[in-house]
């Protein structure tokens, strides 16, 4: 109960003879914060529940049918089964997509965490033009995947692309690669391009956390004669752990959505070496009209998201940050 209510109750005890009757009670109930706040949070919540969670539920139901777009899906309980999920278990393209999703998720997040940290520490040491540098490092993050996809198609081009050209200039032409068609390099190329786009995000979160480290910590360490290395290892980096958790969760969940970049660069089918669940879902549903199968993959993606998000939300709740 808020302070406001407590004060009001006390006031009504002192002054409120007119509030004693039933009508007054009702009026008082209508005055509670809960009821009064309803018009504010209820409509947006209802929209969210209907559009987002309603669609998720509908999607789950479709995944239980065997809808392939010819007639309407049959919404009869007797018709529901887990065939689509069984099919996944024996589908090699689901296996490769799931494996790529996990590899992509871990490698991409780890590299972003490291590069973002280096960028943040570099910027944190810098007095002049720090803001300009921050703007530039975060700039790729403000671009659409379609835009970065087009730019990186050019970077990775075999004959005249930037990366191969640079390698040839410095005499390492033998290392020039078919970055986007060699199955061994595809996923690596995807990760490289998206790290370029996303490490700025990690940097901003690190920077915000760095700013919260009290000055006294630095002073104390300096008085103790700490070297720069010790300063980083013992004073600065340990305090970034909460930032690491937040960045990891956001970036890992992002990789489940990295569909657009892959679609722009590879089209509908990135091939088994770079296919992820997001691209596979779109292909199954919208190209192959295996709607129910696509819905099942979508449900799996939702399941992964919630499984990863729930502990994080609980952790935030415990820290009083939710």
């Amino acid at each position: 109960m808020s302070l406001h209510n407590r004060v009001k109750n006390r006031l009504s005890i002192v002054t409120g003879s007119q509030k004693r009757d039933t009508r007054g009670r009702i009026r008082e109930l209508l005055w509670t914060d809960f009821v009064q706040s309803m018009p504010f949070w209820l409509p947006p919540t209802a929209m969210l529940v209907i559009f987002v969670y309603g669609s998720v539920l509908w999607n789950m139901i479709i995944s239980l049918t065997d809808f392939q777009g010819i007639s309407r899906p049959e919404y009869r309980v007797s018709n529901f089964d887990l065939d689509m999920y069984v099919q996944m278990l024996s589908d090699p393209s689901f296996h490769s997509a799931a494996r790529n999703t996990v590899v992509f998720m871990i490698a991409f997040t780890a590299i972003c965490l490291v590069i973002g940290l280096l960028l943040a520490l570099l910027l944190d040491r810098q007095v002049k033009f720090g803001s300009v540098f921050r703007t530039i490092y975060l700039l790729p993050f403000s671009l659409s995947y379609v835009v970065t996809g087009v730019l990186w198609l050019w970077m990775f081009n075999f004959e005249v692309g930037v990366i191969n050209t640079l390698l040839r200039i410095i005499g390492l032409g033998v290392f020039a690669q078919h970055w986007l068609s060699n199955p061994n390099l595809k996923l690596l190329s995807v990760i490289l391009a998206l790290v370029w786009q996303y490490s700025g995000y990690a940097m901003v979160i690190y920077l915000a956390t760095l700013r919260t480290i009290p000055r006294a910590h630095y002073e104390a360490a300096k008085v103790d004669g700490a070297s720069l290395y010790t300063m980083y290892r013992k004073v600065i980096i340990p305090q970034l752990s909460s930032a690491v958790v937040s960045i990891s969760v956001v970036l890992m969940l992002f990789t489940l959505k990295a569909f657009s970049w892959l679609y722009v660069v590879f089209g509908r089918n990135p091939g088994p070496a770079a296919d992820i669940l997001g691209t596979m879902m779109y292909r199954e549903a919208f190209a192959a009209t295996n709607w129910a199968y696509g819905a099942a993959i979508g449900t799996v993606l939702f399941g992964i998201t919630i499984t990863m998000l729930a502990p994080y939300l609980y952790w935030q709740y415990k820290r009083g940050e939710l």
């Binding site: 040491r125 930037v162 959505k257 669940l277 997001g278 819905a295 939702f302």
Partner: protein, 313 residues
């Protein structure tokens, strides 16, 4: 000019890093500067070579190094004009749903955050979790129902038969605007969750005694919002709108599913078509990419600090 002064302003404004705190500890400034410049060059390389390619002729970009500027005599803006012609109508489409969805999601986010922050009741955290989870729900988990829904509901037909009124007979309205309306609705609803989170982070920092004082003076819940919270929220509205503008403008998947191949296609979808259409015309593709990026780049360069702030919540 505005951007340049803004960059200058940002350059002059010192960010209060640990640099001062670490001063006096031995380290090589030269190495630090070299690393910084190297990293910066690496970051700008894709953008730089994209710009350079976009002003070269096809024969020149095939023969010259991608990051080297073209010969002064052979600079061409033809890729930009051709790409702009292809993209202009879809840029307007994008604006037509981006702006309403930006405003709508910001307003709904603000009121939801107010309702969920300023009141103490038990369900609050549960509802907030719904909002946070909605930010991360993959669109792939919704696409099948969305396309099912719009294959059952013919919005264009419904709006043509609103009683005696045919909406499409009105000036400036075209039947394909129905799809744009759908996009605006989806972007609004999907933006609510992140907007609520951003506003909530901000409202939690507002001094509660201000609210209590208003309530003791007899201000209703609504009056408190209107007279106290709303005016205090304007800086946050700027942050949220900037963030939402870039998010919605850049979005690709909803556009692909709802409007691909129609007149309503947003800029990102048309850029992708340009991409698959002219396989070898990299100059045109790069020019198109920058044209699509210009609105977000402008917003980002003008309000970069606010954009960064939005990420911190």
């Amino acid at each position: 000019m505005n951007i340049i002064t803004e960059i200058k302003r940002m350059a002059n404004a010192r960010i209060d890093g640990s640099a001062e705190c670490l001063r006096g500890i031995r380290s090589s400034r030269v190495i630090l500067h070299l690393i910084t410049i190297g990293v910066l060059a690496g970051f700008l390389l894709p953008l730089h070579s994209g710009v350079m390619t976009s002003i070269k002729t096809p024969s020149e970009f095939a023969e010259t190094l991608p990051m080297v500027p073209p010969n002064i005599g052979s600079i061409t803006i033809e890729p930009w004009t051709v790409a702009f012609e292809t993209l202009s109508t879809s840029m307007i489409n994008s604006l037509m749903f981006t702006i309403p969805a930006m405003v709508g999601s910001a307003v709904l986010g603000s009121i939801a955050a107010y309702g969920l922050t300023m009141v103490d009741w038990r369900g609050q955290v549960g509802i907030m979790s719904l909002f946070v989870a909605a930010i991360f729900v993959p669109k792939q988990a919704l696409l099948v129902p969305i396309s099912r829904f719009w294959s059952i509901v013919d919005l264009q037909g419904i709006l043509a038969n609103l009683g005696p009124l045919n909406l499409w007979a009105l000036p400036f309205l075209q039947p394909y605007h129905a799809t744009i309306f759908e996009l605006a609705v989806y972007h609004t609803v999907f933006g609510i969750s992140i907007c609520t989170l951003l506003f909530r982070g901000y409202y939690l920092t507002i001094d509660q005694s201000l609210i209590e004082a208003a309530k003791l003076d007899g201000a209703s819940f609504f009056a408190t919002y209107w007279h106290i919270i709303r005016p205090l929220s304007y800086p946050m509205f700027a942050v949220v709108c900037i963030f939402q503008f870039t998010q919605i403008w850049n979005e690709f998947l909803f556009g692909l599913v709802l409007s691909s191949g129609t007149q309503a296609a947003p800029a990102t979808v048309t850029l992708n078509d340009l991409n698959s259409g002219y396989a070898q015309l990299y100059n045109r593709q790069a020019a198109g990419a920058f044209i699509v990026a210009i609105p977000t780049l402008l917003v980002y360069l003008m309000f970069g600090d606010k954009f960064a702030k939005a990420q911190e919540y």
